[in-house]
Every structure is written in C-alpha cells, then in structure tokens.
Assembly symmetry: C3
Homo-oligomer: 212 residues x 3
C-alpha cells in the first residue's frame, strides 16, 4: 500500500469515528432530555449510532453488521454512554450541540456516500440506492426520537438534513456515470453533502413550508 | 396468453395501483395533520404504502422487495407526495378521506390475499399465513401512526379493519382446501374482505367493547 | 433419553410457557390501560411475547422464527388474549402484576440465557452475544410500549431489568470459558438473572440516578 492510500484509509476511519461519536452524543442528549435511565441512554446511543446502517443492511440482506465485525465500536459506544452520563450536564448541552454540528454534518455526508456505495454494490436501482444513502445517516436519529416518544426531528424540522443526503446521493450516481475513480466519487459526495448541510445551518435555510 | 388472462393481469395491476395510491394518500394526510415537513411527508407516504409488504418480506426472508423490483412505484409515490403537498388543503381532507374509502378497502382485501398467498408459497402454517395476510395491508398504517406519534388507528379504532383481513385470510385457506383455481381463491378473498370492510363502514359496525 | 434429561426438557418447556404467559399478560394489561380495541390487544400480546426473540432472529438472520416452528404458541396467545379481554378487569391489574413478577423474572433469565446461547452458536463476539441476551427478553416490552405511545419502561424505570440480563449474559460467557456442561451454564444464568431481578424488586434497588 502506498503512503497516499494509507493516509486515505486513516482519514476515512478518523471521519467515521468522529461522525459516530457525534451521532452517539446526539442520542445521549435526547435520552437525557427525555429523562431515560442508564439502560435507556445506552440503548438510544446504540440506536442513534448504528440504527441507520443496520436497517440498510437488513433491507439489503447483508450480514454481518458493521457493529458485529467491528465490535470495538460497540465497546467504544458503551464507554462513551457511561462517560456522557457521568460528565454531561444540562448546561453543557448547548455547547455540545454546537460542537457536534461539524462531525454530524460530516457523518451525514459520509454515511450517505457509504449507503449509496453499498446499495450499488448490491445492484440496486438508482432511486433505491439514493434511498439507502438517505436511510443510512438519517434513520438512527428517527429511531432515537421514536424511542423518546417524539416525532422524528428529521421529519418535522424544516431545515434540510435528509434532503442534503438525497441530493448527495444523486451527485454520487452522476459522478459514477462519468466513470471517475471510486475514492473521488466518495469524497465529492461527502464534501458536497456535508457542505450543503453546513451552509443550510449557517444561513438558516428552511425547506419551503407547504400550506395544509 | 389469452385475452381473459391478459384482462386479469391488467385488472390486478389496476387494483394494486389504486390501492397503493389510497394508502399513500392516507399517509400524506396523517403527516399533514401532524405538521411534518416535506421530508416527513415523503417518508410517511413510503412507509404507509410499502411498510406492510416490506415487513412481511423481512419476516419471510424474501428479496427483492416489491419496491426494488418495481422501482417505478417508488417514483410514482415520490411524485404523488410532492403533488399532495402542492395541491392538498385541509378542507380537502374530508373529501379525500371519503374518496379513498373504496380503494382503501380494495387494498385491504388485495394485500390480505397477496399476503396469505405469498406466505403459503413459502410453506407457512395456516395461522402464520393468515397473520401475514393481516400484516401486509395493516402494518403500513401502523408505521405511519407510530412515526406521527399516535397510537395506531388499527389498534384503537374499534371499527373492523384488520379483523376483515383476518376473516378473509381464513376464507382463502378454506377455498384453498377445496382445490379451486388460484385466481378464483384470490378474487373471492378480495371481494369478501373489501365487501366486509365497506359494509362495516356503511352500517358503522363496531368491534364489541370489552370492559377494562 | 434418561429420566433426568426428560425431566430437564419438561422443566424448560414449563418455564418457557410460564414466562411467555407472563410477558403476554403484561402486554394485555398495557394495551388495556391505553384503551386499545380487540385487535390492538392481540397485536400487543404477540409483540410483547415474541418481539424480542423475533428481532434477535432477524439480526442474526435465523429462520424459521420460534412462533413459526411452534405455531401452537400463536394459538395459545390468541386464546389468552381473548380470555384476558373477557375476564380481566381493572381491579385485577394490581393482583395480576404481583402474580406475574415471578414468571416474568424467570422469563427474563431464561430468554437472556437462550439469547446468549443462540448468538454464541452463530459465532457472535462476546459483547454482541450479551446484547442478544438483553434484546431477547427486553425488546418485546419495548415494542409494547412504543405501540402504546409510551417511553419504554425498560429505558426509564430505574429499576434494574435489562441490567440483570446484561450481568447474566456475562456470567454465561464466564461459565462457558470454564467448559462446564451446557445445561449447567444455562441453569446458572437463569437462576442468577431471575434471582437478581427478584432481589431488586424485593429490596427496591434503583439504578444510580445521573444528574442531567
């Protein structure tokens, strides 16, 4: 392996780790706000971090799951949940939410790209692949909110989140048609999706409200 | 293929389409009432229309899903969700609800028959097959209500809905024992289940209330 | 087969039956409190009794499910749900809740042991096996509460329930390392987990509250 590709592997692992931690922390905070106990916090942390990828793998009938072949991630999340319970205080929440915006956006882009990539490797049609690119990063948060008895934020927030992943998925497919190397397609999707999400947060973009 | 069987195929496709649209519209209206955003409406439309069949296929370990092998249905639902958001207004809801009662009842019968049929083709015992005949048409609405943070209507409404599919499933198995041709078994199940549901709505039948 | 192993098989079946009935009754009572109709009661009874094992089998990609190969359990639960609706009255609830504490604790231990056992037979890593040992007894109740639009009791109750299964799972793995015979490992896990749960109820132990 060359130094460059080594560097790419490490970068990807680093991004994956940062994104997973961001997802897990958003789970821990939602669980705390809903007054769950320690078991509930651990459950919501796992669901938020791995729910989307696991649903994708169930739908595509892929085994083993990510958290079975990389069981060190499960141990890490368990540790994270315990640390969050010990050290996290209500007045840290706003700070934490600000701090995880960047890794969360990167996770949105990264898991969207991975979702489309996995679906294409399993010969899924284009729209299904884009759907998997949306489900992978978004569905963990949906499960988190369902368990905490709230309407999923991704479905009611009006700020583009799943929609960024949707557009990123189509970008992936467009670049794929151009027969670009896979690492470039993946990187462009991540940068585009994460960038779009950060722009949307920065300028407070809203999805058009439709009158009911 | 003879003209008759062609006609049967077209009829079945037509009914399937009408029923899917009815399920999707009930999803769009519930999402609108819960004030979901555009992403939420699309998600609930998909869940309501395909949730039941997808759960059945996961339980029976069948791939590919209907919406993977017929990706044109996904495109259709996406279009429908966008059109519903543009044109649907609160004061249309009652009208729409009345208009979809017939296709919704047909969908109940059709998807119940298909559910039992698929389960029998996979050698499921009778009660499990009937259960699949209930899950296929009913579970999409259950997911719709869970996402919108309501107790599922099918579980609290007291008007027979799932119960019609349950009886229809047993009719299917009874006719199967008589070794009637499959198209006749399917048709009779659809007509019986849909008819029962329409009668229940027409005469406002209620399941017996049990004192708690 | 010797008399002893016959006796063991009957004991295990008897415990399984008692535990399933306890789980089903807790489903029926929660459904009644949420004012579900007859269909809802049956659905929640099924979900509570079989939801955990079914999710475990989906995650491990195991078929057929328990309730497909033992369809007599489905018939039994259907009968139980109908009987519960006829005979159960609000003022029986407290009595029933007291009466099912013992079989429910046994179910917690038994299904935890079975969950770890099945996961190990499918070569899962240790933490994943323990997780399956928690999901099997606990997740049915989680689904019950989600359908009844409540935050899952297992995640908010502060009394150790899932945590007993978690510790029991590690005991199983520890005894497995000692190469003890399987029946001994299983029995010790059941007794330890159920005993811990009963002690927790008896002395009103609480998980440490973490400040948020």
């Amino acid at each position: 392996m060359t130094g460059l590709s080594d560097w790419g592997v490490w970068l990807r692992h680093g991004l994956e780790l940062a994104a997973t931690v961001a997802f897990a922390l958003s789970g821990a905070m939602t669980a705390a706000r809903s007054r769950l106990d320690g078991v509930g916090v651990c459950a919501v942390v796992f669901l938020t971090a791995f729910g989307g990828g696991t649903l994708r793998d169930i739908l595509l009938d892929i085994r083993p799951f990510f958290w079975v072949s990389h069981v060190e991630y499960l141990w890490g999340l368990l540790t994270l949940a315990v640390l969050a319970m010990i050290f996290m205080r209500q007045h840290h929440f706003e700070l934490t939410e600000r701090a995880i915006q960047l890794p969360d956006a990167i996770g949105l882009g990264l898991f969207a790209a991975i979702g489309v990539d996995v679906a294409r490797a399993h010969d899924m049609p284009m729209l299904v692949a884009v759907l998997m690119g949306v489900i992978t990063p978004v569905f963990g948060g949906v499960l988190r909110d369902l368990v905490c008895n709230r309407i999923p934020e991704a479905f009611i927030d009006h700020r583009p989140y799943a929609f960024c992943a949707f557009l990123g998925g189509w970008l992936y497919l467009g670049l794929e048609v151009l027969a670009l190397p896979e690492w470039l397609v993946l990187s462009a999707t991540v940068v585009f999706t994460a960038g779009l999400r950060l722009l949307a947060l920065r300028f407070d973009w809203r999805m058009p409200v439709w009158r009911v």
